[in-house]
Symmetry: D2
Subunit: 146 residues, 4 copies
């Protein structure tokens, strides 16, 4: 995770898309805080809603284009704990767009100014049956470039 | 859930099949105990291992017979909390066997004598694509009757 | 689960409180549908939001009154499967209110008219440290009666 | 994640500690494979069992030393999907040991020779109430050095 002009923290500050996530008991553990694996669930909810905002329903992407997106790499830094009942926000910023993959900077914040988690997520566009790489469908590419 | 000769507690005591489950952080919540929904995960692990003990791998059942088992009804009583690091045991007792469904008594215990949760679970045998009821495959039926 | 004037299905139809839940990949399983245990998570999200609507934040309830609500009994019927990307609604209807416990009818529906799951959930008000029953705090009782 | 003498793949091959994990329905998603966040759960189960093998029960560590271990950084590469009913193995290799933190190489494999996921996990030893860094308790340090 590079620290520089495109570092996730900076990216977080300007994330074009942000999605609210409420912390319920299901998300916490006996340490009293959000269980670390559940941040990956939060990150994916925001990615799903970001795609929806761009006009793409993932069930239709699969039906019409026979593709799905799989996480192939994750870097996460856990900076501060989130607690039960917190209202969080998850950011999505597109960093790189390849022919069959994309790289996102994501973050989880709590108002007013706490950065709880920053992440870099690499996704591959895969055939939904063979799991082989497939070019990102053209309508999606256009949306990403807009 | 009837209280009587076939009540789950009595059933638990003689459950022919028991499967150990360790409680990890992932299973707990900020109340400091196992999150209630996770007992359903524990119950299913024991059912999967019970089927395996009877000689049936569920992935092969699906490939060869195109069926899967879906939970259609659950009754659960949560009696005592399980905590992080507890070593539990989950019991499976067949109560009723129909043509396309079965009913199990299940329980979760902690040594030496704590009954934490008792449950009654109804499963339907379904076509894995249409989700319509399908007769339980013959080899499975024979195993249940043994 | 009684079938009658106060049966959960009827209750569902008039549930005063309903909460939307989107199905993400995290909620599904390899059967292609929502994993059965996750309905319990959906039900609890709606209960948490119902309490919030009544003016009660559960983290404050714990801090100020040292109580939490624990699920002590669940009856669930799984009627139809929910799938990835579905937008569901979860209903909450108060059925019975005791001194230290309450009983709710809950349901999960998908527009326009599919009833996917109905449930009856019994909650106990517990001391957050000893897990012994505690009377429901007065402000909460007033809200329930309103 | 450096590729070299201490790269996780090489580390995986000689991981001193390995723990079996069976894939149940709860672990999979509608893509038909293990949901990516659940690898973090598998990694933690193996870390918990590795500590137990070294003679340390985490609930006692908390009671006696008032510490817990929190994940502060994760790097994961998802190389091949795991599927329902797979029997996996999770490896744990200690890479670095600091005064109040440690760094592990972890991997998830499936016999005979499939490397599904490799990870690098950084853990901090924290006070269990304040979440401030605390030196790793002496008995633990001795075990790590053995």
């Amino acid at each position: 995770m590079t620290v520089g002009p495109d570092c996730p923290v900076a990216g977080a500050a300007r994330a074009a898309f942000r999605w609210p996530v409420r912390v319920y008991y299901e998300d916490t553990d006996a340490g009293g805080v959000v269980y670390h694996a559940n941040y990956l669930r939060f990150l994916e909810r925001a990615r799903s809603e970001w795609l929806r905002r761009l006009g793409h329903e993932q069930d239709l992407l699969r039906l019409e284009h026979h593709v799905l997106f799989a996480v192939t790499r994750v870097h996460m830094d856990f900076l501060k704990p989130a607690r039960f009942n917190d209202l969080l926000e998850v950011g999505v910023t597109l960093m790189d767009l390849g022919r069959a993959s994309l790289r996102l900077a994501q973050d989880v914040t709590r108002a007013p100014d706490a950065l709880l988690c920053r992440a870099e997520v690499r996704l591959a566009c895969l055939d939904d049956l063979t799991f082989r790489p497939r070019p990102i469908p053209e309508p999606l590419l256009r949306g990403f470039h807009a």
